[in-house]
Symmetry: C2
Subunit: 236 residues, 2 copies
DNA sequence: CTTCCTGATAGTGCATGCATAAGTGAAGGA
DNA sequence: TCCTTCACTTATGCATGCACTATCAGGAAG
């Protein structure tokens, strides 16, 4: 009668729904689907060669992740954020990343610290010679290393989920003038604090870093009139 | 074939799925459904008087919230947590609550500070005269006031979602000896730090407070053999 | 010309049916 | 007695069909 669990956490793979969730989530995060875009259930059904039932289930998952907004009887759209909601989400991001950086400063082993330092030092040339996309990729890896160093998988998952929700509004910030060099300098201070084991200091620095990104992102969104859904749903 | 055009109880205006999600989530959070319990789709369909389709959609929502675990072709069970996963979640909880408390210390207005102080002072008698449930209710309101005071709705939502996931494992901790008076003393220090505007101090205190709860919860789970994911992990 | 009604149309939400994989128990062999 | 095998049972995952609601075009009333 004692039923021992066969393999822990084997779940989450295998069904059609999960693979479609991955695909659509990636479409949103990568910007192929922009905020405000309506997701037509039967068009998706055709695209993936399945019926509408698993598509609707997929929409449920994406809605729970905050990537899409479900409006009863009116379909599903890629999530839009009012300026207030955007800064609110960035604040959450700032606190999550600050907490992770704090833990990383306390917990990273010497290999991890070395890897972080090397990644950061090798990125110097990107400030002058790299493209915005190059720097964005380095930036992604920089934060990922800190996430891993914190060794707190739940907190990491929350941070990554929040990062995904912000992705559509954050993408192009490195194209702003001077943003790259400023960002690199902020990273530099963060790396030094982590190597020094200055937990409270790195938390403060990371919070400021993300707040700066937030301001840049808001500026970029304002300048480029990204769809935000400022006034609720009813748009004329 | 026999389709009833009129739903006798279509409570609220939202969809059926949303109301079922609410009900089942509450069943799990409140402990009516304990971790490891299998959720039978057609039994649920009968219980709520709907077909299996919206039930399956409901399961998707609950899985995305982390309240249930979906095993392909093997159904859905109320989420179980290994001891490691439990402490990991508590760590996330600690950091989230610490961040919220820090913001609350910076942002609460005088009315909110007054309300927090009054709630806390009025709760003194619960330490000696109240039941565990009484204190749990006060505890809930205490943390809720701090959440509101932080004025950071996304962070608050993350904290509440995490709190819900922990609820099945956290419920009975106030029945442990001395836990109530210790908890009250920790709250007391937190209130004083918030009133003093000591942001970093309250973050540290809150982190310790939740860590203590984590230890208590782990102890309770171990003593009472709650269903967990993987057995065999002995504490160091 | 604007506002309000009204009917057509499309798409969502749910029910039902079927193929398939997982679970169950009995029979046979070591 | 215990383990393996195999048919049977059960429930999951997906497809399809139908009713209901939101949206929009067109026309009447102000």
């Amino acid at each position: 009668m004692t039923r021992l669990p066969l393999q822990p956490e084997r779940a989450g793979k295998g069904t059609v729904v999960d693979s479609i969730v991955q695909t659509l989530a990636d479409d949103i995060i990568s910007g192929r689907l922009t905020p405000g875009t309506k997701l037509d259930a039967q068009a998706m059904a055709q695209r993936f060669g399945v019926s509408r039932t698993p598509i609707r289930e997929t929409f449920g998952h994406l809605a729970a992740m905050g990537l899409v907004t479900h409006r009863p009887n009116r379909g599903v759209i890629v999530a839009t954020l009012s300026p207030d909601a955007l800064s609110d989400l960035y604040e959450a991001m700032a606190e999550l990343e600050a907490a992770l950086a704090r833990l990383a400063a306390l917990r990273m082993n010497s290999d991890q610290r070395q890897a972080l330092l090397e990644l950061h030092q090798e990125s110097v040339h990107l400030v002058r010679d790299g493209t915005a996309d190059d720097y964005a990729r380095y930036n992604q890896r920089f934060h990922a290393l800190i996430f891993e160093g914190a060794q707190s998988s739940q907190l990491q998952q929350l941070a990554e989920a929040t990062r995904h929700r912000l992705a559509p509004f954050r993408r192009a910030q490195f194209r702003l003038t001077n943003r790259v060099s400023k960002s690199w300098e902020e990273h530099d201070a963060i790396v030094r604090a982590i190597l020094a084991g200055d937990a409270d200091g790195v938390a403060r620095l990371m919070r400021l870093h993300v707040q700066t990104v937030s301001a840049m992102s808001a500026e970029f969104v304002a300048e480029h009139q990204l769809p935000m859904g400022t006034r609720g749903e009813t748009s004329p």
